[in-house]
Symmetry: C2
Subunit: 504 residues, 2 copies
């Protein structure tokens, strides 16, 4: 048994190392690669993907997992193993199952189909013509149904797809939480819409990129994001990636005519980055040094971006610093006006531009529709109309065209069905974690008010970051908060915060 474990750990370490190489190539491609390097890079990425795939699906892994007693019923394997070793066995079992249950031809067919579909989608969005994209999305839905069948599920085929992004969570779990969310958010949005509006004038001022970067770096420093173990660069689409356990890279994007993009984007990526840098050191080099799920990852980025970064106490400390950086732009703007401006709520059509309150409604809309597509309760042909109906129900507005509606996101064209919920789950997990954090640190708000973010990071390292992939999201949520996932905390938080801001 020990020998099998040792062999499995060796394979795992190699896979982890090669994923760092892949991350390095991807990072470079999006940050520094010269334009015409793309052909060579795609050859490199494809070859590396095939090497990693061969290692991921090496039948020897199956034999070793057998020897260690891992099964669908008992993915943790033999009880003779240590707790952490069992968790590693579970993580490997899970990925081995996923990568071996999908035959190579299916994976290739998906790659080919989505490669075409993505460029058709881009064209369809430009022309705002869903009919162009429709046959491709039909193919994608069929292929994802096949994926679901191959991966297996108990109740709903959507569960199999969701499980790829949010382990051990079913669509029934998500639906329950999203029902709470919907019931809490829709009335709040309506109330805000009929309240007196806040002054967002400062958002339209011109903020030079260099100053934005200087300030963003100050905030990352206060968050104790360690620049000897990471970097901040710029890219068209901001992201965070780990080239290694001590090499985590953030990117951001500076819009000189709308400073919140980079400001909150940098804090958001900083939250992802602290997670990636916070895995227990003994997990480094193994796949336990990874996020518990995308939802948990998003809980960290959104916690820092919204709960901390869009909080009144944060600006109590940082507004004078921001103002020193931009004295002209902020001349005559006081803390209260600024705080309200960066928390302006307005139902809008585009998800990526949505505020903290309406954002989750955009996600609920997508979840409802994609679950119906996969459940064969909705035809692709009827999707644009269904989108408009849901948009009216949830946001109270209807897109004027498909580009601003059903065609706005890239995800489906890439075959990612079951991914969207993780964005909203992040909000829910985040505030549930905060409920525990505030018990452990009753003076949290005061610390933020003094710019002391380090104790918060330390708490997250211990409770959320450290455990990494050793816990499933459900386990983590129960361990940290003592109860299953609930949208209650997030809704309470929004109600309190926005009742104050909008004087509801």
């Amino acid at each position: 048994m020990n020998k099998a474990l040792e062999q499995l750990k060796k394979i795992d370490a190699e896979v982890k190392t090669l994923r760092g190489v892949q991350a390095s190539l991807d990072w470079d491609q999006h940050v520094y690669m010269p334009e015409r390097g793309v052909h060579d890079r795609s050859e490199q990425s494809a070859l590396l993907a095939s090497i990693v795939h061969a290692k991921d699906t090496n039948p020897e892994i199956g034999n070793l997992l057998d020897k260690l007693g891992a099964t669908d019923e008992n993915p943790l394997g033999s009880e003779e193993l240590s707790d952490d070793d069992r968790r590693l066995v579970r993580a490997i079992y899970r990925e081995f199952k996923q990568s071996t249950r999908l035959p190579g031809e299916l994976v290739e067919k998906i790659a080919r189909t989505t490669s075409v579909a993505q460029s058709v989608w881009a064209d369809a969005r430009r022309k705002s013509d869903f009919a162009l994209f429709r046959p491709h999305l039909e193919q994608i839905v069929d292929l994802q149904l096949e994926v679901a069948d191959r991966l297996g599920y108990e109740e709903h085929p959507y569960d199999a797809l969701l499980d790829q992004y949010e382990p051990d969570m079913t669509s029934a779990d998500v639906a329950k939480v999203f029902r709470e969310l919907r019931e809490g958010l829709v009335p709040l949005v309506r109330k805000i819409a009929s309240a007196r509006q806040v002054d967002g004038g400062v958002l339209g001022k011109h903020f030079p990129a260099a100053g934005q970067e200087a300030f963003g770096r100050k905030v990352l420093e206060a968050m104790h994001f360690d620049m000897t173990r990471g970097r901040l660069d710029t890219s068209v689409h901001p992201f965070t990636t780990s080239l290694g356990g001590d090499d985590v890279r953030l990117t951001t994007r500076y819009d000189e005519t709308y400073f919140p993009t980079a400001l909150f984007g940098t804090i958001h990526e900083g939250g992802h980055g602290l997670y990636e840098l916070g895995f227990k050191r003994e997990y480094h080099g193994s796949r336990l040094a990874d996020a518990a799920s995308l939802g948990i990852h998003e809980s960290m980025s959104r916690f820092w971006e919204n709960v901390v970064g869009r909080g009144r106490q944060f600006w109590h400390h940082f507004f004078p610093i921001f103002k020193a950086q931009f004295p002209e732009q902020l001349s005559g703007v006081d803390l209260e006006t600024f705080y309200k401006a960066v928390n302006l709520v307005e139902p809008s059509l585009i998800r990526v531009e949505a505020d903290e309150v309406t954002y989750s409604l955009h996600i609920i809309l997508r979840f409802e529709l994609e679950r119906m597509l996969i459940g064969k309760e909705l035809k692709v042909a009827d999707l644009p109309e269904a989108w408009r109906e849901q948009s009216q129900d949830l946001l109270g507005i209807v897109p004027n065209n498909d580009a601003n509606g059903v065609l706005q996101d890239i995800h489906w064209s890439g075959g990612a069905i079951g991914y969207f919920p993780t964005y909203a789950l992040g909000n829910v997990y985040g505030l549930q974690f905060v409920s525990r954090l505030k018990k452990d640190m009753p003076d949290m708000e005061n610390r933020i008010r003094n710019g002391e973010l380090a104790p918060i990071k330390a708490w997250l390292d211990e409770h959320i970051h450290g455990p990494g992939r050793s816990r499933t999201p459900k386990e983590l949520c129960e361990e940290v908060t003592g109860e299953p996932m609930s949208a209650r905390y997030f809704i309470e938080y929004l109600n309190t915060k926005y009742t104050d801001i909008y004087d509801l």
Copy 2:
């Protein structure tokens, strides 16, 4: 035969692609990697090296080469193959032989020995204490003798080592050329030393890095270094590397108190970069898209750096532009003074700081000594004394300590014996190529005077860059100049140029 060729090309393409990945990791490590990413990076590099080594030494390559008729006597293989296919077979045969003739244990032993030796060398240099380094260098010489025996040679074991860096060249060839060089250079240096000195005052002025970079980019642009296929960044030790046939990255280093470092360094790396970007497109993705040898590579960098970049005509065009960039620093400095200052000759102890005239003498010194070490005509223990003697003979000066003498270069501590000659061969090849270039383009100097560097690059693309590794250095030299390598052109060039500058 066709099938074997196809299979061989497939393996070759994979090896080439993985080398691009390795280059990407190395580049990142020296340019952007955060400090503490080094542990993860070394795991990645080591794993990738083992994957590449397995591909390089795959016995299937041996079988395929057999089928294609490649042997030591006829490395080009069957005459039924096309010319280019035969050249590819030769290039693969050569590398396969080199990587399979050295047993894994020997390679590992060298890696372990040099890893220790490099840090001991750094310490010994700091303390200027050769005795510390001596036992390690003795081990290295013994190991390199074993390498030579394994690789095989006809006359001198040094030939086997040299052949790794400069294919098909023997130490007798090098000795012949270096004899010509020595006979030409030593009297020239003596004459310059007793001539009236030039005014180098401008070299000591302060030049801010940003302006240096702006000017360097202008020169690269004039050289038609294509920034959609490459980049310029900074690193501690400047280098050029290819991440792919359309992705060539240069680095430079800005010293604000000595501008020639970055100025001529950028042009030097630009010359390497043009070579790497200039391989025939049909060779891309195969190992023919590589330099003919290190000597040829160096011929391109030194041609641009010295013949073009330190030439009077170049500054006729660029001095006003440089002066516009640095009006204060260059106030009162005229073109002639500037031109002479950047061509100042002075025998010095340190190779990397040497001027164009004395540089090759530093190389001859090292070549003589390392050939004697490998030929067992000189003991490591006697090396410092031998260094001092050679230094007196060649440069007319003697190092005051070992740090400024035998301990100054890192190469031997890394096991690189046989590498040094390629630096001086670059000077020799370069001026020999220029002799042909001037026949094809009699108005070359005039074009440079007008800032028109593109036709020169085009000529190099056709005659030197394009052929890449399809030619051995000897073949290339004969094809381009119609004669074997000769130091005559380089010596003539130096005599003419410095007779003028120093009014000899």
